[in-house]
C-alpha cells in the first residue's frame, strides 16, 4: 500500500476519500484553492497544498500545479475523485510521467471512453446495444439537420467530452437546432475545453440505470450491480438507489446488464472502478449510453447494499493488489437510497444558493450515512458545483429505506442558505416514487402533478409565532434585510 496519497478534489468527495485513505493507514494530502483554505478536507487531511485562486481553471483543473504539489509533499499516488480532472487522460499520463500512480483506469481507457463517439463504436464492437445516433461529432449544420431528420425529433445534443449534463440539449424541432448547437457547444467548451457535440435519438421516458464495475490490473473484473438514477433535473441526478425497482421485479435484468457492462469494460482493457450508464425503456430494452471512468457521486448506495468499500478497493487496486472478490461472492442485501443535498432553491427553479451556513444539524442514527463536505460556519463558495452532502440510508426493504430517508431529512437542518431537503421529503411521500415508477421524466411529471398540501393552521401559526419570537432575539436569525430582497426577487421571478 502507498505511504502517502494526494486527493486532487474538493468538497464532500475529497472528505470521503481522505477518510478512506486514513482508514487504510495512509497519509493524506488535500489540495485547496483560495476559496477552500479552511475546507473540511483541509481540516481532516494530514497535509494540505495550495493550488491557486478560486476559479477551477486556476486551481483544481491545473495539471501542473497538482502534480507539483504531489511531488513537493512526496505523495506516491493521486486520487482524482469525480469531476475536475478525473476523466482527463492527459492528467493520468502526467501523473505516470512524474512517477506518481494515478488512482483510476489506464489513460488509454479514459481517452477512449472520454470520446462518447469512440465509446459507442467500442460498445457496438463488443456487442452491446447503443442508442441510435451519429458516430462522429457535428461538423456543419446541414449534416446535423440531415442526421436529426433521419433519427426523427426529438433528438438529444451531447458533448463528446461531456458528463453531468453539461453541453446537453433536447431539440424538438429543426428550427431550434442551430441555437441549441451553439449553446451546447459553448457550454461544452467552458466545461471541458472541448466544444464538440453530437446527436442522439432521444429515448422517451427511459430509466437511467448504471452498472458499477471493479477490476484489478491482472484482468480480474466483476460487476457490483446497478444503481437506478432516473430522477434527474437538468440532466443532473438527484436521487439514486440500489436495487433498482425494475431489477427487484426482474432480477435477470441485473445479470444481463452486468454482463454487457463487463463486455464493454473488458474491450477497453479497463481496470480499477468504473460505471457504465444505460437507458432502459419501458420494455426493459437497455441501451449503452456512456462509461464514466471514475468513482461516481452515487457510489455509496452500492457500498451500502454490497458492504464493499469502493474507494478502499480503488486504493488497493492502484497499489497493485489483486481483487480478491469473485463475482459469486457479491451479495446485494436490503435497499439503499441517496439524496444529493444541494445549495439551491427548489421553489425557484433550483437556483444556486451559495453563502455561509449559520447553523448545521446533521441526521444520524440507525441506517443513516452522511457524506458531507461542509460544517457550521463554512461559506459555500459560488465558484463550484452546489453539492453540499450526500444523504444515504440503508434498510432491509425499500419501503423502510424511504421512511428512514424521510426521518433523516426531517432531522437535517441547514441554516443560512437554501437547500433541497424539504423538496426531497415531498418526493419521499410521492405515490409514483413509492411505487418505484421512475423515468428520467419523473421530476417534470412530479412538478406537473405536485400539489402543495395545505398545512394544518396550527403548524402555520407556529411558523409565524417562531418568526415573531426570533425577531425579539436578534441572535437567532440573520438580519432581515436580505430577507425582503430575496422574497421580492422571488416574487418577481415568479411573475415572469
Amino acid at each position: 500500500m502507498f505511504r502517502k496519497v494526494l486527493v486532487a478534489n474538493r468538497g464532500e468527495i475529497a472528505v470521503r476519500i481522505v477518510r478512506a485513505v486514513r482508514e487504510s493507514g495512509v497519509a493524506s494530502v488535500a489540495v485547496y484553492s483560495e476559496a477552500d483554505r479552511a475546507s473540511l478536507a483541509v481540516l481532516m487531511a494530514d497535509e494540505a497544498a495550495y493550488l491557486g485562486p478560486a476559479p477551477a481553471s486556476e486551481s483544481y483543473l491545473c495539471i501542473d500545479k497538482i502534480v507539483d504539489a504531489a511531488q513537493r509533499h512526496g505523495a506516491e499516488a493521486i486520487h482524482p475523485g469525480y469531476g475536475f480532472l478525473s476523466e482527463n487522460s492527459e492528467f493520468a499520463e502526467a501523473c505516470e510521467a512524474a512517477g506518481i500512480v494515478f488512482i483510476g483506469p489506464p489513460a488509454a481507457a479514459i481517452r477512449q471512453m472520454g470520446s462518447k463517439t469512440a465509446a459507442r463504436k467500442l460498445a457496438i464492437a463488443a456487442g452491446a446495444p447503443v442508442v441510435p445516433g451519429t458516430e462522429s461529432a457535428i461538423d456543419n449544420l446541414t449534416n446535423a439537420k440531415e442526421t436529426a431528420r433521419r433519427l426523427g425529433y426529438p433528438v438529444l445534443l451531447k458533448a463528446s467530452a461531456g458528463g453531468g449534463g453539461k453541453g446537453m440539449r433536447r431539440v424538438d424541432r429543426e428550427a431550434d437546432l442551430e441555437a441549441a448547437i451553439r449553446d451546447a457547444s459553448s457550454e461544452a467548451l467552458r466545461a471541458f475545453q472541448n466544444g464538440e457535440v453530437y446527436l442522439e435519438k432521444l429515448v422517451l421516458e427511459p430509466r437511467h440505470i448504471e452498472i458499477q464495475i471493479l477490476g484489478d490490473r491482472d484482468g480480474h473484473m466483476i460487476h457490483l450491480g446497478e444503481r437506478e438514477c432516473s430522477i434527474q433535473r437538468r440532466h443532473q441526478k438527484v436521487i439514486e438507489e440500489c436495487p433498482s425497482p425494475v431489477m427487484s421485479e426482474h432480477p435477470e435484468l441485473r445479470q444481463r446488464m452486468g454482463e454487457a457492462a463487463l463486455r464493454i469494460a473488458r474491450a477497453a482493457n479497463y481496470y480499477n472502478a468504473g460505471t457504465l450508464e444505460f437507458l432502459v425503456d419501458r420494455d426493459r430494452t437497455f441501451y449503452f449510453l456512456e462509461m464514466n471512468t471514475r468513482l461516481q457521486v452515487e457510489h455509496p448506495v452500492t457500498e451500502l447494499v454490497t458492504g464493499l468499500d469502493l474507494v478502499q478497493w480503488q486504493l488497493r487496486i492502484a497499489a497493485g493488489e489483486g481483487l480478491t472478490i469473485r463475482q459469486e461472492d457479491v451479495r446485494w442485501s436490503g435497499a439503499a437510497v441517496e439524496c444529493r443535498i444541494y445549495a439551491e432553491d427548489p421553489d425557484r427553479q433550483f437556483l444556486p444558493s451559495p453563502g455561509q451556513i449559520t447553523r448545521l444539524t446533521e441526521p444520524a442514527g440507525p441506517g443513516v450515512r452522511l457524506d458531507s463536505g461542509v460544517y457550521e460556519g463554512w461559506t459555500v463558495p459560488l465558484d463550484y458545483d452546489p453539492l453540499l452532502a450526500k444523504l444515504a440510508v440503508w434498510a432491509p426493504s425499500r419501503a423502510t429505506a424511504i421512511a428512514r430517508m424521510k426521518r433523516a431529512l426531517a432531522d437535517y437542518t441547514i441554516a443560512g442558505i437554501r437547500t433541497n431537503c424539504a423538496f426531497f421529503a415531498e418526493i419521499m411521500d410521492d405515490a409514483e416514487f413509492r411505487a418505484g415508477r421512475l423515468s428520467t421524466a419523473f421530476l417534470d411529471e412530479f412538478f406537473a402533478r405536485r400539489k402543495v398540501h395545505e398545512p394544518a393552521l396550527e403548524t402555520e401559526a407556529v411558523a409565524a409565532l417562531a418568526a415573531a419570537l426570533a425577531q425579539r432575539k436578534p441572535t437567532a436569525a440573520p438580519s432581515t434585510a436580505p430577507t425582503s430582497q430575496w422574497l421580492q426577487t422571488g416574487r418577481e421571478t415568479l411573475l415572469r
Binding site: 453539461k166 457550454e187 466545461a191 425557484r348 427553479q349 437556483l351 444556486p352 451559495p354 453563502g355 449559520t358 447553523r359 444539524t361 459560488l382 465558484d383 463550484y384 458545483d385 452546489p386 426531517a410 432531522d411 437542518t413 441547514i414 441554516a415 443560512g416 437554501r418 424539504a422 398545512p455 393552521l457 396550527e458 403548524t459 402555520e460 401559526a461 407556529v462 411558523a463 409565524a464 409565532l465 417562531a466 418568526a467 415573531a468 419570537l469 426570533a470 425577531q471 425579539r472 441572535t475 437567532a476 436569525a477 440573520p478 432581515t480 436580505p482 430577507t483 425582503s484 430582497q485 430575496w486 422574497l487 421580492q488 426577487t489 422571488g490 416574487r491 421571478t493 411573475l495 415572469r496
Partner: protein
C-alpha cells in the same frame, strides 16, 4: 418562556406574510392568537423553549413542534418550510403596492453569481420574455428574461461582473 423572557405582559401584535398569504398574530405570555385571511382565527396556549441557536421546541397542548429559523425569512416546522415575513402595518402596505406598479421595472439578479453575457443594449426595444442577461453561479447559467415588453432604460452591469442576489442588473421602461 421566550415570551416571558422578552418581559412583556400585554399582547404584542404582528402582521405576517406567510407563503404569500397575509395573517395577523397577537402574542401574549405563553398564549397567542392567529388569524389568517380565509380561516377562522385560532387561539392557543403554548410553551416555547430555546433548543440551540435559532431553534425552539414549541409545545401546544402536548403536540411537539421543532422549529428552526433558517434565515432569509425561511422557517422550518417539523421539517416543513414556510416563508415568513414579519412586518409592522405601514411597511406591509408599502411592500404590497410596490408589486403592481407599471413604471420602469428593475431586472434583478436572482442569485449571487457572475454576469456571463449582456444580450441587450440601452435604448433597445425588447419583447416580454426576451433574454436580457446571462448570470452564472455554481456552474449553472440563468438567463434573465424581460418581465414585459418595453425599452431598455439602463444596463447597470457588464460581462464579468460579480453580483449579489437582488442587485439591479437592468431597467425596463
Amino acid at each position: 418562556m421566550a415570551a416571558n423572557r422578552s418581559g412583556d405582559t400585554v399582547a404584542v401584535k404582528y402582521e405576517i406574510l406567510i407563503d404569500g398569504k397575509a395573517a395577523a398574530l397577537s402574542v401574549a405570555v405563553e398564549r397567542f392568537e392567529y388569524r389568517r385571511e380565509g380561516c377562522t382565527a385560532i387561539e392557543r396556549d403554548y410553551s416555547a423553549a430555546p433548543a440551540g441557536d435559532g431553534t425552539w421546541s414549541i409545545l401546544i397542548d402536548g403536540r411537539s413542534y421543532a422549529v428552526a429559523i433558517l434565515g432569509a425569512g425561511e422557517v422550518s416546522v417539523n421539517g416543513r418550510l414556510f416563508h415568513v415575513d414579519v412586518f409592522d402595518p405601514r411597511e406591509l402596505r408599502g411592500r404590497r403596492s410596490a408589486a403592481d406598479h407599471d413604471g420602469p421595472q428593475a431586472v434583478t439578479a436572482p442569485m449571487p453569481g457572475r454576469v456571463i453575457r449582456v444580450l441587450a443594449e440601452p435604448g433597445q426595444e425588447v419583447a416580454a420574455g426576451e433574454g436580457l442577461i446571462v448570470v452564472e453561479a455554481m456552474k449553472m447559467q440563468n438567463e434573465m428574461k424581460s418581465p414585459r415588453a418595453g425599452r431598455v432604460a439602463a444596463v447597470r452591469t457588464a460581462a464579468g461582473a460579480t453580483v449579489s442576489a437582488g442587485d439591479v442588473l437592468l431597467v425596463i421602461e
